[in-house]
């Protein structure tokens, strides 16, 4: 087998056309890695500068009523992840700025796609675009006539006569084509690692390793099917046409069809439905700005009783802050209910879509690629959850200051000083560790492994039917 692989590589190295294509493609890959890295670094800088600016604004508040500060709010920016330079996943369409304020959970805004001059179907030139779409095409073009050419030229007879078994020939050809894909993949990861050497962490290396594994399996599947078709079909054109058909179905049609099906099976409420339901549930709760609200009155009675006083003016605390916090907590439970439901639906959609990997390994590749590069919707949802948790701490800190900071009920002119505002914690994003979310992608990896095994078994048994003459 090694001899056949070595001979195939001699062809790759000595074929001027292929060498030219390889050099051109490697240059484009190199460019995509540099561009991806440059964009990520630039995003990191922009993110840091925006975050510093907003924080500076916040800590510069000289004096302000804490509840007014809650309305004034702050901004949270979705940090650029180093891994996104390889696969930006859904990040360019999900938005990256969230306004954090009292009473309301705002939606994330300023998606990169909405500000792009040229919105491409395939997105920006990132290594994942080339690794997912173009490298498999190259492998197909490399493999489609690998066996049929030997058959048509009569060399297959000579190879078998010299002792090479058809199974060995097909597996060797598969491995040599696969190794070409691996070479391109390793090249990308090597350049990426060199460029980001100082920022590499165990988590990033683990994720990159799993990313590598997913592509390794997918390239094997593509190479093996193409070489097998080349061996089974009578002519190379048929093998090429079949593989291009599979490539189109796998990469263009099936992902759209399966995603639409998953959305149909587990539909999210429409924006109007969602907002109406939220509004309705919210209206059933306590209105923090309305002292005459029934629930506000009940809370007042409870607090007065706890403190053993008859009126709000006798309270040693500011009841307004307490009422605002009660309003906030009710709003939080409404958010938990509705957004929790949405999260559940999104998770079901993802799981259904993942099952599409049974018929389309490209889906498993895309899922695992985005997942391991922390740029899929699951990671985005984790970010939104962290922002919401921060918002709750942020608003509670302000409401607690309003309540226990020394002001009296009804004194809306009372102001907290700059020391307090400086003490309010800033948002710190904790990147989700791959060990925590790995279980979400095991199905994708398992399906890619199963596909690889099935193809190998098909080759093993199918080779017996291949006619040498």
């Amino acid at each position: 087998m090694l001899q056949i692989i070595k001979n195939e590589w001699r062809f790759l190295i000595r074929s001027r056309i292929f060498l030219g294509i390889s050099i051109a493609f490697i240059s484009i890959l190199l460019l995509s890695v540099f561009l991806g890295n440059y964009q990520t670094r630039k995003q990191e800088q922009t993110h840091k500068s925006a975050k510093d600016h907003v924080r500076q604004q916040w800590v510069s508040i000289d004096e302000m009523n804490p509840h007014s500060a809650a309305h004034y709010g702050t901004y949270v920016f979705k940090p650029a992840n180093l891994l996104n330079s390889l696969d930006e996943g859904v990040n360019s369409v999900t938005g990256n700025v969230l306004r954090v304020e009292g009473h309301v959970q705002n939606e994330i805004m300023h998606s990169e796609a909405s500000q792009m001059q040229a919105i491409s179907r395939f997105g920006k030139l990132k290594p994942s675009l080339l690794l997912q779409y173009i490298v498999p095409l190259l492998l197909i073009f490399l493999a489609f006539n690998s066996v049929s050419n030997e058959k048509q030229s009569g060399r297959l007879k000579l190879l078998v006569l010299q002792g090479a078994k058809p199974l060995q020939i097909i597996l060797s050809k598969t491995l040599s084509v696969w190794l070409y894909g691996m070479m391109l993949l390793i090249f990308v990861l090597l350049v990426y690692s060199i460029l980001n050497f100082q920022s590499l962490t165990i988590d990033i290396l683990t994720r990159t390793g799993l990313f590598f594994l997913s592509y390794t399996l997918y390239y094997f599947i593509i190479s093996a099917i193409t070489v097998y078709f080349s061996a089974r079909w009578q002519n190379a054109t048929l093998a090429l046409t079949s593989m291009l058909g599979i490539w189109i179905i796998w990469t263009i049609f099936l992902p759209n069809i399966l995603m639409s099906s998953a959305e149909k099976w587990h539909p999210l409420p429409s924006r109007n439905q969602f907002q109406s339901a939220m509004k309705e549930d919210r209206s059933k709760g306590l209105d923090g700005h309305n002292p005459s609200d029934k629930r506000a009155i009940a809370l007042k009675e409870k607090v007065l009783k706890e403190y053993g006083v008859d009126s709000l003016s006798q309270l040693p605390i500011n009841f307004d802050g307490m009422r605002m916090q009660a309003d906030e907590e009710y709003g939080n439970s409404v958010w938990d209910k509705h957004f929790g439901n949405n999260r559940k639906i999104l998770r079901k959609q993802k799981q259904s879509f993942q099952l599409g990997g049974i018929v389309n390994p490209f889906i498993s590749l895309q899922n695992s690629s985005m997942g391991f590069m922390a740029s899929d919707n699951l990671h985005h949802q984790e970010f939104l959850l962290q922002v919401e948790n921060y918002r709750r701490v942020f608003i509670k800190t302000l409401n607690d200051k309003q309540t226990f900071g020394g002001s009296k009920t009804g004194n809306w002119r009372w102001k907290a000083d700059n020391t307090f505002f400086k003490s309010v914690p800033d948002f710190v994003y904790k990147p989700t560790q791959v060990s925590i979310i790995l279980s979400n992608y095991l199905l994708d990896l398992a399906l890619l492994i199963i596909w690889s095994i099935i193809i190998t078994v098909v080759i093993y048994f199918g080779t017996k039917k291949i006619q040498i003459v």
Partner: protein
């Protein structure tokens, strides 16, 4: 030794070979003459073990090719009409590659020696095969079989398309191989070349061996007349 005993082979109901009995001894060259579709290539493919006969038995050195094709292939050197080697490799590299596939590791000197024995000039050993003539490629093909130490040589239209000089060189080479003890079966259209090279000649028509004779018993012209007579009847 090559033996075919009552061999028949059909494709989708069409008989390609019918009760063929043939024997080629060690050191002998048998020429199979016949028109296109006479069954020459089918016979060779059965000897190579790529096709199994519907009935009868095919043996190479007393080993049945249908059941032990891997064993018999080790004994066979096959030279097709067009020896399509790897064009990006030199003659030397092609020989080295095919030898390694057969599990044979030769030094560069040994490989060059094989090529020289088979008539390929030293100066072209390291040139890419894409620049070789048909005759030169055929010499490499024979060198592959020779380096494999084949006991049986099967040649399918070896002289087709060769210039007279190359064709003559091939004849000399085949005679040399036979003198060293090789068993050779050569399928061809070329009556004159077959008459010149082979010890015995068989004429195949529609899968039937219609005539078998010794070369020394007929002149080239007589053989041609005989051949045409069989083809026209």
């Amino acid at each position: 030794m090559i033996q075919l005993q009552n061999v028949s082979k059909s494709f989708k109901g069409n008989l390609a070979i019918q009760n063929l009995n043939l024997e080629v001894q060690k050191g002998e060259i048998l020429g199979l003459l016949g028109a296109n579709g006479a069954g020459k290539s089918t016979t060779i493919n059965m000897l190579l073990g790529f096709l199994n006969p519907d009935s009868g038995a095919v043996h190479i050195n007393d080993i049945d090719t249908s059941h032990n094709s891997e064993e018999t292939r080790k004994l066979i050197g096959y030279i097709p009409e067009n020896v399509n080697l790897y064009p990006y490799l030199s003659g030397l590299e092609n020989l080295d590659y095919f030898c390694k596939l057969a599990g044979l590791k030769y030094s560069k000197d040994e490989l060059e020696n094989y090529l020289e024995i088979c008539g390929l000039e030293n100066k072209v050993h390291v040139k890419k095969v894409s620049g070789y003539s048909k005759g030169m490629r055929q010499k490499v093909g024979i060198a592959i079989a020779y380096a494999k130490k084949a006991k049986v040589y099967l040649l399918d239209e070896p002289a087709s398309g060769l210039d007279p000089l190359a064709s003559n060189e091939l004849s000399i080479l085949l005679k040399k191989l036979a003198s060293e003890g090789a068993t050779i079966l050569m399928a061809s259209h070329d009556i004159f070349r077959v008459r010149e090279v082979c010890n015995r000649i068989g004429i195949l028509k529609n899968g039937i061996l219609v005539k078998e004779l010794y070369s020394k018993d007929v002149s080239a012209n007589e053989l041609e007349a005989l051949y045409l007579q069989f083809m026209q009847n």
